[in-house]
Symmetry: C2
Subunit: 329 residues, 2 copies
DNA sequence: TCCCAAGATGGAAACGTTTCCAAGCGCCGT
DNA sequence: ACGGCGCTTGGAAACGTTTCCATCTTGGGA
C-alpha cells in the first residue's frame, strides 16, 4: 500500500502539501494540487484511516446506541439516521444494549476510548450527569427520551398522542373504549406507554366517558400477549367497541384476536395503534404516526450540525403527531 | 485522558508490560498484572482505539454492505449479524448502496483504506475478480448471492423454494395458480424472483397443471403495485384460486386486494408468500421461511471464524427452506 | 529596482499504541 | 559456587497521518 510519503515523492512535493490537498486546504497552488492529484491517481493511493484518526483526534464515526435491536420502531429510526449519514463523511457504527447498566458502561467506554465523534441514543434513559463529568461537551443527541436533557433531543408528546388517538375513536362514535399496552419495561424503563395511557384517560374524562379497568390491560410487550389480552377483554358480555393499542405491534395482536373471535374490523370492534411502523401499512391499521424515519433523520442532521459548527442547539425538536386513517376504525 | 504511559508510571512498569496486560499476553507475572490492572482502574484508563488500530494494523471493525436499507429482509439479516458481532470485539459499521457502480467503488475504497477487517455483503452481486486483484484474500462473506463465489457465502435455493410453495398450494387442493412477483431489478439485478418463478413453473409442470400468463404478473416492487395486479388477476371470470407471491411484501398487497374485493382468505383465494419477514407473523400470512435472521448470524459467525483462524472455509452454506403454516392457505 | 506582505511549501514533532529485541532476574542442576 | 536457561520486563522503533512553525516564493507598490 502506498503511503503519503510515496505520493509526496512522486509528485515532487512535501508530505505536508499532500496532506493539504487531501484535506482540501485552500493554501495550495492549483498547479501543485494537480500534480499531487495525478500522483495519487497513479499510485491508486488512499489515506490510511487509522493514521488520520490518531493524528487528527477525530474518528469520522458516529455511533448509534439502541436497545436490543428487535422492535420495528428502532429499525425505522435507524433507517432515517443511515439516510443522512450516508451522504456525509461519517461512518455509522451500531451498538446494541441489553440493560441499563450495560448502557452506562458502554457509553463511558465509547466516549473514553475515543471510538466515535458523536453518539445518537435511541429511547434509552441514561445518567446525563455521569457523562458530563466524564467529558462535558461530548456530542450526544437523544431520540425519544425525556426532553429535559442537557443534550439536543428529538421527542414526541406521548400524552397528546394518546389523547389524539382516543378522541379520534370518540369522534367516530365510540363510547366504550379499551386500552392495550405493555408494562413499563423493567430493564430499560421505557415510559411512553404510561404517558399514552395518561392521554387516553385525559381524553376520556374530557368527553365525560368512563375509564373501565376491565377493558384495559398492560403486560408483556409481544403480539401474542396482546392477542390473549384482547380475547379476555372482548369476551366480556359488556365489551368495548374500540381498542386503543399503545403500539402497532400490540395492535396486530388485537386484530388477530378480533378476527379469531369471528368479529369484524371496524364494524364490530375498531382498533387504533400508535407508531405507524411500516407493517401498519401492510395490514391497513389506522394508527398515530410519529414519523419514525424522520426522527432519525433529524437526529442525524442535528449531530452533523453540531460536529461541523461546534455549536450546540439545545432546544428539543418536538415532532408532530398525526392520525393515519386506514381501515381499522 | 490518561495514556498507556500514565498507567505504566503509576504501576511502576514499562509501557510494553501494560500493553501485554491489555492484550492478555500470558508472559506477565500475576502480581505485575494485578498492579497494572489496579493502575488502570485508578486512572479510569481505556486504550485509544485509533492508536491501537494504527499500530496493530487491525481495525476491529466489520462492515456490512447492503442495498439501500429499506426492505424488511435486509433489516432482519442485519439483526442476525448484529446479534453475533455484539458479543465479539468487533464493531459493526453500516454502508448502504444505491447502485451497482457505487458498490464496486465503495468496496474498493473500504478495502483500500483499511477501514474494516472484513466485509459482509448482502444480496449484492459484485465483481469478484476486481477485488481479488486488489487484495487477494481480503475477508468477504456474501449473503444471498450466487454460491459460485470465491468467497464464503450463505444462500438458499430459490428454485426449490418456489416449487415448495407451489406444491404446498397444490396439496391443499388448488389447481388454478397465479403468481405475483417483482421484475428483475434494473439497478441491482436481484434475480431471486426469476428463480422462484422458475420453481413455480417446474412444480406446475410436474403436477400436470397449466401455467397461465393471465394469472401472472411481474412489476414494480411495492405493495401497491401488487395490490393492483391482484385486482386485475382476480377480476377475471376465470380466476386462480390461489396466488403465490414471490415476496411477503407483495403478498400483503395481494391480501389487501382480496379483502377489498369482498373475498375471503383462504376460502375464496389462498395466498402464500416468501421470506417470512416479521410482518408476515403480524398478518398471519402463510409463507416460505428462509431464516433471514439466521442467515445474518451465520454470515457473521463465518466472518469471525475466518478472522480469528486465518483459514477460509469456502463451501457455501445453504439454508433450508420451510413452509410456515399460518392462516392464508 | 527594491522591499514587504501574503501565499506556498517543507521538515519535523506529535498522536498512543504494538511489538521487536535486548537485557535483567531467579532458579535449577551440577 | 557457577553457568545457563527461561520467564519477565523495559526501551525504542514503527505505524501513517495532521499540523505547527519556519522558510522560501511571488507579486505589487513605491
Amino acid at each position: 500500500m502506498p503511503t503519503i510519503r510515496d505520493v509526496a515523492k512522486r509528485a515532487g512535493v512535501g508530505i505536508a502539501t499532500v496532506s493539504r490537498v487531501l484535506n482540501g486546504s485552500s493554501q495550495v497552488r492549483e498547479s501543485t494540487r494537480q500534480r499531487v492529484l495525478d500522483a495519487i491517481a497513479d499510485l491508486n493511493y488512499s489515506p490510511n484511516q487509522a493514521a488520520r484518526r490518531l493524528s487528527s483526534g477525530k474518528t469520522f464515526t458516529i455511533g448509534v446506541v439502541s436497545p436490543f435491536f428487535t422492535f420495528p420502531s428502532f429499525v425505522e429510526r435507524l433507517t432515517g439516521i443511515q439516510d443522512v449519514l450516508d451522504e456525509s463523511e461519517y461512518d455509522l457504527v451500531l451498538y446494541s444494549i441489553r440493560s441499563t447498566e450495560q448502557l452506562q458502561r458502554r457509553l463511558r467506554i465509547l466516549i473514553g476510548e475515543n471510538r466515535v465523534d458523536g453518539l445518537i441514543v435511541l429511547s434509552l434513559p441514561f445518567s446525563e450527569r455521569d457523562l458530563r463529568t466524564l467529558k462535558p461537551d461530548f456530542p450526544i443527541v437523544t431520540v425519544d427520551n425525556s426532553p429535559a436533557w442537557h443534550y439536543p433531543s428529538v421527542v414526541i408528546d406521548d400524552v397528546a398522542g394518546g389523547a389524539l388517538a382516543t378522541r379520534y375513536l370518540i369522534e367516530h362514535g365510540h363510547r366504550a373504549l379499551g386500552f392495550v399496552g405493555d408494562r413499563t419495561d423493567s430493564v430499560f424503563r421505557f415510559t411512553s406507554t404510561e404517558r399514552r395511557l395518561e392521554g387516553f384517560r385525559n381524553a376520556l374524562t374530557e368527553a365525560g366517558l368512563e375509564f373501565r379497568e376491565t377493558w384495559c390491560w398492560q403486560g408483556e410487550h409481544s403480539q401474542e400477549a396482546a392477542r390473549q389480552a384482547a380475547w379476555r377483554i372482548l369476551q366480556q358480555p359488556n365489551r368495548p367497541s374500540a381498542i386503543f393499542a399503545a403500539m402497532d405491534t400490540l395492535a396486530f395482536g388485537v386484530l388477530q384476536a378480533v378476527r379469531e373471535m369471528g368479529m369484524r374490523v371496524p364494524e364490530d370492534v375498531a382498533v387504533i395503534g400508535f407508531d405507524d411502523i411500516a407493517a401498519a401499512g401492510y395490514v391497513n391499521l389506522t394508527t398515530v404516526s410519529q414519523h419514525l424515519v424522520e426522527s432519525g433523520r433529524i437526529a442525524a442532521q442535528r449531530m452533523l450540525d453540531w460536529l461541523r459548527s461546534g455549536e450546540i442547539e439545545r432546544t428539543p425538536v418536538q415532532l408532530p403527531l398525526k392520525i393515519v386513517e386506514r381501515a381499522t376504525v
